[in-house]
Assembly symmetry: D2
Homo-oligomer: 348 residues x 4
């Protein structure tokens, strides 16, 4: 029973097979291969329009290279204070953008609102003494496993256009959000005003492949140079492409995400049924945040289940009492119903 | 017949199998897994001492993250003007070091000499108006497929110590150089004064894995932070480690390199035997640079063989006449004797 | 009546004269002149020990070049969220440090506490996913005109040593704090654990000269290179040095600061006497923050007095009611008693 | 007799007086003052069109902030290998641009040619493995005191437009070149295709003021932010503006430059008349490079004259024999005819 993260799981068999299949003969290096070309077309189909797409190995690289096209070195990026870019990437956004400033906002349930961005913008009254407002970044699904509705994304798109900002979506768990909303990739992104997307695959069954997808060609100008000088262009790129091709084929990505979300819902339901456990935030994708008495936590901690305690921060979650602990449980494409039920039984 | 580069080839079967084997169960993410721990020990054995080793996905990342620990942002790095870091990485060294300056030297046959570094150092007479001399980087084997002898590496080590510089070795083709010299990894690196090594595996049979190896612990301090903020820490790191573990097991790396070198020697010998072809530089590892009349080149270009013309630059190679063309031919662990012979026959 | 800032005033006559005196004959450029050498000795005397000192033209350059020696690009700096480095320098710290992260803390009255730093440090539990804690920066006197006591500075010094952090002091208004505490420069800095100081002179009577003072020689290594490549080394440096020499001579700097502080105290006292005005924070140096009804503010705004409204932020100041406005009033070495009294009379 | 550099001299009396005059009353800080506004208009007049102009304290800051608007972090800048930006600024261009690469070309007499740039461009055949060609920078007058003719500048302007590059002019000694060519500022810059100019004043009589002048408004967008975050925006900016206003008034800048050039011509003529001395390059502005036997040099070195030997580099100057030394002599607005004649007499 491993609920530590969705990235502790391995690689989907279909993706493993695709990589093996790609291992024949020679192929042009540095993304000049045919599989890469096919993947580019797949993305056009997925998003129902022409997009510019680039494959990378990590979500941090995807986020930060995407942002580097959207903000100048003296720019400001509005995001949740506990967004991955703000709290988990060791200053990578600052590195890749040449020094841009993250304005970390304190939003409920891992989500920020246009009003928060507007309030923060209202403080930019000192001309060049302030950085220049340049982009908004939202995470879909969020670090707390919550999902922005289409209306909410759309509202950010409108704000971005009104304020001449760019809108970035960190989609490390894009598929989980998509099946949660049951909408199309187009609806959740460019149709709602998203300019660039970090499209995750690793957490949902791939080995190591993420994509940056641009919906505005201007942002994609010279991206090849940015990727290269960041040490992110693989010589044997066909093995990134093979992962992504399989991921996007036969609805693998959607099925995997659906399964993970179902397991999370089952887990959330099971835990909530316990009299002494409540959810810190709603479960909308593949993460469960459960608040429980320390005594209950200790029972779980003594089991062979793997999970992490989670520090409540700001106004993000329901209040965690002094004698309580909040834990995070993440489900994946490989999480089994048996594991979920076994875990729930520990507190039943 | 593909001689375009060693990176157009795929992945060694043993490495592919190791990756598949690694795909069972869950594993701690972000390099906390057991395979990574085992690989760290392997490197200690390979180098006959404790080293600090970090796995990355590209040679550019390995080179530039290594250099970022060796030079300040206002530092100078002495290297060949056509070293990969100087000519092929789109300014990645400048990006990763925060702006250090590469002093590109014009050396014969892809190699620089201590004298060239000393001559360049002699121009650093303007105190803080010059960048601060900080590191030397040599490529083993070089971009022209030549190899520094142990004495030559040692001479750089002595110069580095005398001038308070750090010595970096770009070993994208480390194994090819090693079997060429028939020495130990220790002899070719730390025993000769190398402080940090970019240890390549991708070109020699891996899918996408390189390592930075530090022989001075001080340089390794905080390297985890550097790797993370460069977007180079993989969540499912076990799949990098699995590649490297297989690569270093059962002499796979040495056997692969030996084969590639043998194919290059065979190719060099065969081509040299043609009356109108001569080598631009000696063939000492797995690259052949052949100068030939345009007419001969055209015959080759019309075949199904893949290769690239190579611009002579500086004083690097033998002079290429106006009616001549120099081509580069790279052999790999998968290059076959048949392919070599078929190519030679084209000009026979 | 100009209370907009201490930097709207001109240059002290004694400093102007010193600059004119320096304008004779030729002098070695780039800080090789004799006046610069004399200033270096002056600083040793001021701080009662050997220090390393470098002259610069702006406080932003002083702060950020100092910090660049104290933190790695992947480091974290703890400071007040409204410290100048965090809120007024357009990302200069990120630029000069190569991307370090400012952890803006919400402290009362412009000051942070060791406890706040410790609480923030407690969140650094994710190893390399977090930036590396590297430095604390405190502002003396603070952006709200308050002053850290010697005990308070000492407590930061102890925390810094205990946690292996560096301690930086932004002393843009160093002299104002010094005369407020009536202590020695040594006591307020290195004796209390400060590693590097931005020593301001411009706001207190100079034209454009600030200094970085290092109390740890290690931090000063290569600082000449840092200053040069930041475009901060003046060819005719003697004219910076002449300003500083005069500033530090005949107690000019202390007398000027004392005057400014006295004017602020007089202003604070006069305003507080008005029944509808109260101070947002205590007046301890040369800044007054006064909260008043909008109607009262409008009377002042219609006068020829120049001043700025100030947004209350976080828990920094006393609460500003909906019908109230807080204004900032800054006094300088040239502020006259008449101006203060005239301003007070406007609300009398 | 000080010929070490034009920056060893002090400040023109008219500029000193202007600074003293500016020291009355209060003025809006951070370039919001009236003198700054007047200077902006002066520049429009000088260049016979609307320009965007920003005042800075050093030539390095002017060059590098200008370049930061013209090239992306992954860009390449073509310049002379011994241009100030390449050889004398300790990596400042790399710092300010976020890592752009200088392609140092080896041109005769301190000047490069469009052909050299084209030849270098011809090597950019590796797509994103190369940096992106972005700008050309020429120095007027050059580090060897030579001057590009209007036709030569125009040829660079045409090349820049044809290749989609930006053209930067380092005019640290702009006035010296201008009076040498006897043309208008407009002719020497935007009419010939220059996009941005570093306009020097310090070497020619100011204390510490340089300007960046943009002839393309697009480049000036957000320049206030760039200047601020580089620590280059002075709070008491009126004292920079006062220098520049006086410099541009009453033809002071032209008269000063004319004098310096005349002194250099006199010096060059006098030295050339000696049988054992010849010029390393033509004297076209205010610098003289004289090659002489070591014995002659020793006579000069024993006098009280101050000057520097100059290393011949690349193909820049006439060949310096083994028994010879080349020295650099720089004249300024304050160099006297007596000093020149006395120096010449030393070798007479």
């Amino acid at each position: 029973m491993d609920f530590a993260s969705d990235n502790v799981y391995g690689v989907d068999a279909a993706i493993m097979e695709a990589m093996a299949r790609a291992n024949t003969g020679t192929a042009a290096s540095y993304a000049g291969d045919e599989i890469t070309a096919r993947v580019e077309k797949q993305f056009n189909e997925v998003f129902e329009r022409e997009v510019k797409v680039f494959l990378l190995t990590t979500g941090t690289a995807a986020n930060c290279l995407a942002l580097s096209t959207m903000v100048p070195p003296y720019g400001a990026i509005f995001c949740h204070g506990f967004a991955h870019i703000s709290a988990d990437e060791c200053g990578a956004p600052e590195f890749f953008t040449g020094g841009a400033k993250l304005m970390g906002l304190d939003g409920v349930a891992g989500k920020i609102t246009p009003k928060m961005v507007k309030d923060s913008l209202a403080g930019f009254i000192r001309a060049e003494h302030d950085p220049k407002p340049a982009a908004i970044s939202i995470t879909q699904s969020s670090e707390l496993g919550t999902v922005y509705s289409l209306d909410e994304v759309q509202a950010f798109g409108e704000l971005a256009r009104a304020k001449n900002l760019r809108l970035h979506m960190d989609g490390a768990r894009f598929a989980n959000a998509l099946v949660s909303l049951d909408c199309s990739p187009a609806e959740m992104t460019w149709q709602a005003g998203v300019d660039a997307l970090s499209f995750g695959a690793t957490k949902n069954g791939a080995m190591m492949v993420e994509a940056v997808v641009f919906f505005d060609d201007k942002l994609a100008v010279d991206f090849e140079h940015r990727r290269m000088r960041a040490g992110q262009l693989l010589s044997k790129n066909r093995f990134l492409a093979a992962q992504m091709e399989a991921y996007l084929s036969n609805d693998l990505w959607l099925n995997n995400a659906r399964h993970a979300n179902e397991m999370a819902a089952r887990l959330a339901g099971g835990l909530s049924a316990a009299s002494d456990i409540r959810l810190g935030v709603d479960c909308q994708a593949n993460e469960v945040f459960a608040i429980m008495p320390r005594a209950t936590h200790d029972v779980l901690a003594k089991s062979d289940a793997v999970f992490h305690p989670w520090l409540a921060s700001g106004s993000d979650t329901d209040t965690v009492g002094n004698d309580e602990i909040m834990i995070r449980l993440v489900t994946s494409f490989q999480t089994t119903r048996d594991d979920v039920d076994a875990f729930v039984n520990l507190v039943g």
